[in-house]
């Protein structure tokens, strides 16, 4: 693989910082090809990803079940540090993966749940049904995907959940400006 040559790094020092440059160790992997080159690595990768899509529903069901299992532990033992972390990670994975797997509304509902876990001042004071509704919604969106009209319903459901969750978060964080700022900040990911 590409190796760095030692001793080729240049350092220029200033009053309180150094600027360090080195010859690009990855230079050799950039190839000049003619305009007529038909290779399309992005298109090839998209096709390969489409080839995996047959597994996405199963993967999504596994992720949703992991979330439900984490929630069941919270209901049984309360919000310990470990339980909170596992619930957050399960929701956060769905937030990141669901759109790729073809379940964008499940991702939106999971994002709303992540915001509750991250910004509620005291998770024990969060109405239990608010969390339960998010998890039930994600399960429903994943299980009922094949039925007609569910895409529209799923989108409406996730938007309603987000509305209720945001209303709750704005209320409980009214004296916590740093959380309010984070709650109100727009996402860097374009909306659906």
């Amino acid at each position: 693989m590409t190796k760095q040559k030692p001793g080729t790094i240049q350092v220029k020092s200033f009053g309180d910082h150094h600027v360090i440059t080195q010859p690009n160790p990855l230079r050799k992997v950039l190839l000049r090809v003619p305009e007529s080159d038909l290779d399309d690595p992005v298109g090839r990768a998209e096709k390969a990803l489409a080839g995996l899509s047959g597994e996405f529903k199963t993967w999504m069901a596994i992720e949703a079940d992991r979330l439900s299992a984490a929630h069941a532990v919270v209901l049984r033992d309360g919000f310990t540090i470990e339980n909170r972390e596992e619930l957050f990670r399960a929701a956060h994975d769905i937030k990141g993966d669901a759109a790729t797997f073809g379940f964008p509304s499940a991702g939106a509902a999971a994002e709303s749940l992540c915001r509750i876990i991250e910004h509620a001042p005291d998770l024990d004071q969060v109405p239990p049904e608010l969390i339960t509704h998010h998890i039930n919604a994600i399960q429903a969106i994943v299980r009922e995907r094949t039925k007609l009209d569910t895409a529209v319903m799923a989108s409406k459901l996730s938007k309603q959940l987000r509305g209720v969750a945001d209303e709750f978060l704005l209320k409980v964080n009214r004296d916590r400006p740093e959380h309010l700022e984070a709650i109100l900040a727009p996402s860097i990911v374009p909306a659906e």
Binding site: F14, D16, H17, D39, E63, G96, A99, T100, P186, I188
Partner: protein, 181 residues
């Protein structure tokens, strides 16, 4: 026109989610990469980083044991025996701007918010290969230059002192090649 010879690149993927690792592996192999090592937590990734010396690291943020942010901070140790300069692409479900800033301050080279796309990943890889930034070392930071653009209209106080602002850019291969044409 330029193309990356993925065949010659060695990747380290770090993500606790097996489905995301599978997707990343699929994308990288489709691009043409042959070597993609996988770790499911930051601690394992750090060990693999020392052992395999990857050219590019792609890491998730939220992981058990220690997370992708801590992994980036541990790689960016200027006195370490390993390579502190490898490009780090953070691929994460976090989608808030403040997270981008935190990742940048940990020494992350590129930030890619999920959902992942083949195009988004390819562009980040192309960027770290063709447009490497110089590294900056201060008392509190070691990592790629966080100033991607020089703003001539900036009139506030300078955070860097001790002389004129002199940023030594590594020439972009793309720009260099274009100017030669």
């Amino acid at each position: 026109m330029y193309r990356i010879d993925f065949n010659k690149l060695r990747f380290l993927i770090c993500d606790d989610n097996p489905h995301m690792r599978r997707i990343l592996r699929t994308l990288l192999h489709s691009f043409g990469a042959r070597e993609a090592y996988e770790a499911e937590d930051g601690a394992t990734a750090l060990e693999m980083y020392s052992h395999y010396v990857p050219d590019i690291v792609i890491t998730d943020w939220s992981m058990p044991i220690f997370d992708g942010l801590e992994l980036a901070q541990m790689i960016r140790q200027p006195e370490s025996k390993g390579n502190p300069y490898a490009p780090i692409i953070m691929l994460t479900g976090h989608s808030e701007k403040r997270r981008v800033t935190v990742a940048r301050d940990a020494g992350v080279t590129e930030f890619l918010a999920k959902p992942i796309s083949a195009k988004g990943l390819y562009q980040r890889i192309l960027n770290v290969v063709a447009n490497p930034r110089p590294f900056i070392k201060t008392k509190t930071y070691f990592g790629p230059d966080r100033r991607r653009n020089i703003n001539n209209a900036y009139i506030g106080p300078e955070r860097r002192v001790g002389g004129e602002v002199e940023v030594m850019q590594q020439p972009s291969l793309l720009d260099k090649a274009r100017s030669a044409v």
